[in-house]
């Protein structure tokens, strides 16, 4: 991992982009003054610096660093999901299990590279355990809703996110640095978010689902997806894919990223909140940053596993 040329090249690239973005932000603030949009933009850029630094350090430090980082991300994301779902006193013990026993176990299986259990632990065992534990408490009011919502939170915040560090356990012939796959995934998905936003702001006219999210426009979606896929294609040297494979995979990832953002917007709109939380300044909560990644990660994991191992 250390002294690995592609990694260093990538870091320089990311650093370059961040520096350019910061300069643009300062320039805009200097020329146009501190409007709320520009303040938000600069807050976001600052948060990007932090997030890149954290992710890079975690991945550079090895498998354990990556697993701990994503376990923490799951913890914060789960906390946000659970806060939004209307739970009752009868769910308290089941939720304690989720946070402090089941979530760490999922990451333990990732660390042990135990694919068989990692892939089914939450969809099967946790899925059966949660309703049982809640039923044992005796409160049957909205029983199915409560169970379903907690299970959904576990799937999104823990199961999907855990597929990112799980990339480290794949054995790809002729390819050793799986951490690059993590970087590839995260870069393509996050760039797709940013580019969809930028294209939307510049060219967006017709919203795709106006009732749900007036900010997601057709121009934003098409422009953002295509440009992010080109970025992904440009990163083919990080991965075991050929450049056209990188392009196709990136298209899938960006579409899934869009789907993830859409679904989370639907949940937020139903709950009447604008953001999942306020953990990351300028962006909202952890879920607001991870929503695209949650949908893209499991599919990416399985695509790579199916085609490349």
């Amino acid at each position: 991992m250390m002294g690995d040329q592609e990694f260093t090249l990538l870091i320089c690239g990311i650093l370059g982009i961040l520096v350019v973005a910061s300069l643009i932000g300062w320039l805009l603030a200097w020329r146009k003054g501190n409007t709320p949009v520009i303040i938000n933009l600069n807050e976001r850029i600052k948060a990007w610096w932090m997030m890149c630094a954290v992710v890079i350090v975690a991945i550079w430090s090895g498998a354990v660093g990556a697993i701990i980082l994503f376990a923490l991300i799951s913890f914060l994301a789960l906390r946000e999901c659970v806060t939004l779902t209307p739970t009752r006193r009868g769910d308290h013990e089941a939720m304690f299990w989720c946070f402090f026993i089941l979530m760490p176990l999922q990451y333990l299986f990732v660390g042990m590279q135990w694919y068989g259990l990692f892939a089914i632990f939450i969809p099967v065992y946790v899925f059966l355990f949660i309703p049982t534990r809640i039923a044992l408490q005796g409160d049957t009011r909205h029983f199915l809703e409560r169970t379903a919502k907690i299970q959904w939170s576990m799937m999104i915040a823990v199961y999907c996110v855990s597929h990112v560090p799980a990339l480290l356990m794949l054995e790809i012939p002729g390819f050793t640095h799986n951490s690059h796959l993590i970087l590839f995934l995260m870069i393509v998905v996050q760039i797709s978010d940013v580019l969809q936003y930028v294209f939307g702001k510049l060219f967006g006219k017709r919203p795709i689902v106006p009732k749900l999210s007036p900010n997601k426009t057709i121009a934003g979606f098409v422009g953002g997806t295509l440009s992010a896929s080109l970025v992904g294609m440009g990163l083919w040297w990080l991965t075991p894919f050929a450049f056209w494979q990188a392009f196709l995979i990136s298209i899938v990832l960006t579409i899934l990223g869009f789907a993830g953002g859409l679904c989370m917007s639907a949940i937020k709109r139903d709950s009447g909140v604008k953001d999942f939380g306020a953990f990351i300044e300028g962006h909202g909560g952890m879920m607001d940053r991870m929503d695209s990644l949650c949908f893209a990660a499991p599919v990416f994991f399985h695509l790579v596993r199916y085609f490349f191992t």
Partner: protein, 284 residues
């Protein structure tokens, strides 16, 4: 210096009320309890600076609190920190005091004292250490007290009846007064702030219980001090009554606008209703 006579013995009941009022004509009021077991002294050092170990433990607790609850304080209006305040909040969980205390700006944490139950916090070394050295809490006793002698209660107080200048034995029936009023007054006299929970006990998080009268007595005794409602949300989901398990949930502490000062002719129930309404308004 802080108005506490070192050998003063206090006993009070959280369930009942007893009025203690410093009599301007003579020495401070002393209540004597009939049994030594009801003795409770909480000595609070002046807030000069916090010792290092207390600061480290406080830092750890605040960090754990943030990890569990992600709590951020929302201030509905900018604050005048030069005056003492009485923060009163809804009570749903053992974590309430910690959360409000952790939402205060760090420089103020030294000078904001949560009011807590002595029977719980004095039992056990860790609790004593936390309550006295880290939080600098004001500890007051709970439980019904009988056979209490009251000396020199000033007469502008309670409808229960002012006493004359002689000690009276209550002989089996309970005198009503406010517990810990003396310690709380001492804090306010020093120019520092209090955090109290007027409901007296943890509720279920849905409605507010009836307010005890401590807030009223303090507000009347110190008209220069503002009473500020604090609404704590979701803490009953983190550590509900009846469970020792914590579940991380994002909570919020909303610190509202100070109440209007107690009027001279305002009655206790009027004031407490007004205080309660101010808190209820923040709940919606």
């Amino acid at each position: 210096m802080d108005g506490l006579a070192p050998d003063a013995i206090y006993s009070a009941s959280f369930e009942g009320e007893r009025m203690k009022h410093s009599n301007p004509d003579s020495s401070p009021v002393i209540e004597t309890a009939s049994t030594a077991a009801e003795q409770n002294i909480s000595v609070i050092p002046p807030a000069e600076h916090q010792p290092l170990d207390a600061r480290i433990v406080a830092g750890i607790l605040v960090f754990a609190c943030r990890l569990l609850t992600g709590v951020r304080a929302r201030w509905l209006q900018p604050f005048d920190w030069t005056k003492p305040q009485i923060f009163y909040a809804n009570h749903t969980s053992h974590l309430d005091g910690l959360v409000i205390w952790a939402s205060m700006p760090q420089s103020m944490r030294n000078r904001v004292h949560p009011v807590a139950a002595a029977d719980y916090w004095l039992s056990g070394r860790i609790r004593r250490y936390l309550a006295q050295r880290v939080f600098k809490a004001v500890l007051v006793q709970r439980g019904r007290v009988k056979n209490t002698q009251v000396v020199n209660v000033a007469d502008q107080v309670d409808q229960v009846g002012a006493d004359s200048n002689q000690s009276q034995s209550s002989g089996g029936h309970e005198r009503r007064g406010v517990l810990g009023l003396r310690e709380m007054s001492a804090i306010l006299e020093r120019g520092e702030s209090l955090i109290i929970f007027p409901e007296g006990t943890r509720g279920n998080g849905e409605e507010l219980g009836t307010f005890r009268s401590g807030l009223w007595h303090l507000a009347r005794q110190f008209p220069a001090v503002s009473c500020v409602p604090v609404y704590l949300e979701n803490l009953n989901r983190v550590l509900p009554k009846g469970s020792w398990l914590v579940v991380p949930i994002i909570c919020s502490a909303t610190i509202g606008r100070p109440l209007a000062v107690v009027q001279d002719d305002e009655h206790k129930t009027g004031f407490l209703t007004r205080a309660r309404q101010a808190l209820e308004e923040m709940m919606s």
